[in-house]
Symmetry: C2
Subunit: 350 residues, 2 copies
């Protein structure tokens, strides 16, 4: 198929720094190209891809201090895609509601993956008005605050099968991976590990917005010992870090729409102890790839049961459910359904 992938311009694809959306767009794009599809990636010019790169803007906006108005480049992006739309079989956007007005009035099938949380009040009237625009959720739970949208599928994220693999190291600690932020609850992770009597390693960045939380809440807790902060890590360091973990702690306190770290752990054969929020029950299979818990007490109890899970089994479920190939297959199915069923709805009517 001739496929346009349209990414936001804030980060490169893949991102130079943190950027979940751009990372997933990269995984999907590379997999589609590997499978022989004709893919054009609309993204910032510092993106790296084996697809055809259409660089609307030379550089990721977040890294370009000269840019004061980030809406302008995205307006240009929409126009560029529109002008080239007839050359594609499908347009796949990763930009929230941005394409709805313009692309609802042209002929090429289009779909938008919603990557963020959908509980902002300002989204309600937007999706009331654009009730016809086809969208894809990244978990079923993500849809709850916004049931009126025209969901054509849920497509869970996937990772390239061999991006992260189990390493032959001994498991000696519990792991916390990602960002130090109140809704990620690293404080819970520290308490759970201590109560279980197992060291905790935290591989996480501290955003400027979260520095105060780190200084006020987390730093004082570190004095108690048994917790090692190893800073932010990249994909190169993740296999060793995750393979060395008895389990990943995911004690979140917000409706995370997906949560890539869970499948990163699974890729390394590492089971996950996760709080029952957001997408967790759709990703973790209780008693197979980890344990779903409701509070710290049951989390501590679950730690002692981690040894009973098969790490080979965890990796196996990753390979069955969370590879980029599975994700691409799901998306291709959506593209074909859109092309067949929705084309008559998308005619220019005025």
């Amino acid at each position: 198929m001739r496929i346009a992938q349209v990414a936001p311009l804030h980060e490169a694809v893949p991102p130079k720094l943190y950027g979940g959306t751009e990372r997933v767009v990269s995984f999907l794009t590379e997999e589609l190209v590997a499978e022989g599809h004709d893919v054009t990636l609309f993204a910032s010019g510092d993106s790296v891809t084996s697809a055809r790169l259409h660089a609307v803007w030379p550089k990721a906006l977040r890294l370009d201090p000269s840019i004061r108005d980030t809406i302008a480049p995205h307006m240009l992006l929409m126009e560029d895609v529109y002008r080239m739309a007839v050359d594609f079989d499908v347009l796949h956007f990763h930009m929230d509601y941005w394409p709805f007005s313009l692309f609802g009035r042209q002929r090429t099938p289009f779909v938008t993956t919603l990557h963020g949380r959908l509980d902002l009040p300002e989204l309600q009237p937007v999706f009331n008005t654009f009730a016809q625009a086809p969208v894809i959720s990244i978990s079923d739970s993500q849809r709850r605050p916004l049931p009126q949208a025209n969901y054509v599928a849920t497509v869970l994220h996937g990772l390239p099968e061999n991006l992260l693999t189990p390493q032959p190291v001994k498991q000696e600690y519990l792991a916390f991976l990602g960002r130090i932020a109140p809704e990620k609850r690293p404080d819970r992770a520290i308490r759970i590990a201590r109560a279980a009597g197992i060291p905790l390693k935290i591989a996480a960045k501290v955003d400027r917005a979260d520095q105060e939380y780190f200084d006020d809440v987390i730093k004082p807790m570190l004095a108690g010992g048994g917790v090692e902060m190893i800073g932010e890590i990249g994909d190169a360091e993740k296999p060793a870090f995750l393979s060395g973990a008895i389990g990943l702690l995911m004690p979140i306190d917000w409706p995370e729409p997906f949560g890539l770290v869970m499948i990163e752990a699974m890729a390394c054969g590492t089971p996950v102890i996760a709080f029952n929020r957001g997408s967790v029950p759709e990703i973790i299979e209780n008693g197979l790839t980890g344990f779903i818990v409701e509070d710290e007490t049951s989390a501590v109890a679950a730690v002692s049961r981690l040894a009973g899970l098969s790490r080979t089994g965890v990796r196996h479920r990753f390979e069955q459910r969370f590879t980029a190939a599975r994700m691409a297959a799901d998306y291709l199915h959506c593209y074909r359904t859109l092309g067949a069923a929705e084309r008559p709805m998308l005619r220019v009517i005025r």
Copy 2:
């Protein structure tokens, strides 16, 4: 004519607080209604107008702390206008490049007044791509950094003829009106007044972003005496404040695209001493409604010549050149030209 006025949603029309764009949209809308046109104002729901109000959002976004994503309401605004577009003879936008993609592909003539400075680098590629979209500048000088846009006219701003009128008070000071900000150069105003030996009254607000500038630069200068800070004033207080001024000092150091305070002074018969930047030579008639100067030395010299200008003459030129009626007449001429000349270019082509 059936006219749509489309304002941004950040402030109400007219604005509850500062908001030059929304103020001008209000003046234009009220004048068009007074002249018998059928006007619909697309704006926040707390707007006050004699036109038909189409409230896309209940409240001005800047005053609503619950709104995190201000793009969403504007996307909704664009869609609402699009769905109603066939019911209008012309669509007049005040939202920069926002309407270009969508409204360039429908039949109702549309035009956009560019209210801001046009020297941001990110505007260059946008206006290269949208070189056909008809726009109106608010001064000829505003166009300089962006010559490639499709300017159909310059329409200078205007005020309702009797909003501000000369009051029978004695002229005893020089006036500075607006905002304390580095590019407005209140420091120059203070030095000019002192060198001329005349008291200065500053009626200006200090934005949070400019508090440091005020504390570091302006506050220490006030100790020298002869300068009175009277805070921010509204339209009710402006006639007395401006009528009591020997002249308004406008020692700006940036290419101001218009500068409403100059015509507010003129409405009260008060001449203006303005630095030769941006729109100044298009608004001030040197030796008639004020003096255009290049530096502080010539500004001080001009102060002594203010008494030679006729305040009645200044007010007269305001009535001839800067009323809302003149502004509305200019816009109506544009609307009619667009309707006649540009309609064939705007057909749906796909």
